[in-house]
Symmetry: C2
DNA sequence: TGTTTAACATACCAACTGGTTGGTACCTAA
DNA sequence: TTAGGTACCAACCAGTTGGTATGTTAAACA
């Protein structure tokens, strides 16, 4: 498979080794899937031996679980942070929402490598390879996004009644789904601009929904 | 164990055998991924032997390629059909587009099993497992959708200028991306209603974009 | 009817898989 | 100084993998 070694000075730092294993595994998984990512490939890339791997992770499924937890924590921290920043940058709920999407747009635009995709989408298309503990993390993550955006959308609607009635749960899910789908398209077409453009479009659609007529 | 042959004479129907292999493989792949779907599992499910499998497919990658081609053909035929039906059911381009989405909504609603997901999304998250010939099929499929919807969107805009300027390519991609993403969410949350609800939402957003003010 | 050939089945293999073993180098605490 | 745990390594193991070599059988011809 991919045997490119990240030659890192052999530093006896278990925490960093563990993180490096997770990093390498995640990169490989996003290209090959979990099932086809062998622990030999992971150890080869991380520059360690199989013994070291199984010292840090009792089994390959433990690696999967650890990966899911780490990904969810990072993602949800990221979500909270952008929500908080948007809340500070604007006072009107709609403007906050638009800024929120704008922040993600900014961050997508700043990526230089082609976007590698979402670990959770990768996992869910191999769901039978994972135990319930791991899958629960994915479910919870989707619900966290729904709850966060639904709350914001209700605040928006209280100030700007939508031009047409909409189901807020579905509109909240739109963010998650559209992002996931755009990841798929980005990987498919190799066009890095897709994420940014879908963010722009989402802002347009939200503005059009909540402020149909331009106010001045 | 089975000494006497009571079995019905083997249905010596190569075309059906081939299709059964493809069906079984696809079902397994959508749950385990391509890499973790062994040909033993496929043959076991299809009720044939490994010899039979390799008679129909020279290698496992040939199975993948055949699967991609079949999936694309079915999907694009489906797309053309729904486009044609929508074109007959309405004359106004916007109404055609809304009917088009409505047809998919209908078809999603009619599914009784939980939706198994999109083969292409599964493949793209294991892209390094496939050769260029296979990946080209996925790319072409995404572009077919974009082209079809972009054309329709331009026809819509000619009659109903959008309330805000939008990039038609991105709006066209929204259909593909939102569908893919909702497949992911459906698999994640196990909620079969998600697809239907995102179709409804999409129709609302399109109406709001192209006819901001309700005409009478 | 006999012959050929496509459509399978059976038995097997080399390479690879996740995981284990026994060991070594290093750090820390007593 | 030393005892013991942590971090890591090299070699190995049993089971599984995609793939093959060689049969067998039914159907399509001649």
């Amino acid at each position: 498979m991919n045997a490119t070694k990240l030659d890192v000075p052999r530093s006896r730092d278990p925490e960093r080794t563990r993180e490096r294993i997770l990093d390498c595994a995640q990169a490989l998984i996003l290209d090959h899937g979990f099932g086809a990512t062998t622990v030999d490939a992971v150890t080869g890339r991380a520059g360690i031996t199989k013994g070291a791997f199984f010292h840090h992770f009792p089994s390959k499924s433990d690696l999967g679980r650890a990966l899911a937890h780490r990904y969810a924590e990072l993602d949800e921290e990221h979500l909270r942070e952008n929500m908080a920043r948007a809340a500070k940058l604007a006072t009107d709920p709609l403007q906050q929402l638009l800024v929120f999407v704008g922040l993600y747009e900014e961050q997508f635009a700043a990526l230089d490598q082609p976007f590698p995709g979402c670990l959770f989408a990768s996992f869910i298309y191999e769901n039978k390879l994972f135990d319930e503990d791991t899958l629960v993390v994915l479910r919870r993550n989707a619900l966290v996004w729904r709850a966060a955006l639904r709350a914001q959308l209700e605040a928006v609607a209280a100030v700007h009644p939508p031009g047409r009635p909409v189901d807020f749960d579905s509109l909240a899910d739109l963010f998650y789904a559209l992002t996931e789908g755009t990841f798929v398209m980005t990987k498919t077409l190799g066009d890095r601009s897709l994420l940014v453009r879908q963010c722009q479009l989402m802002r347009t659609l939200l503005e059009q929904l909540f402020t149909p007529a331009l106010a001045g």
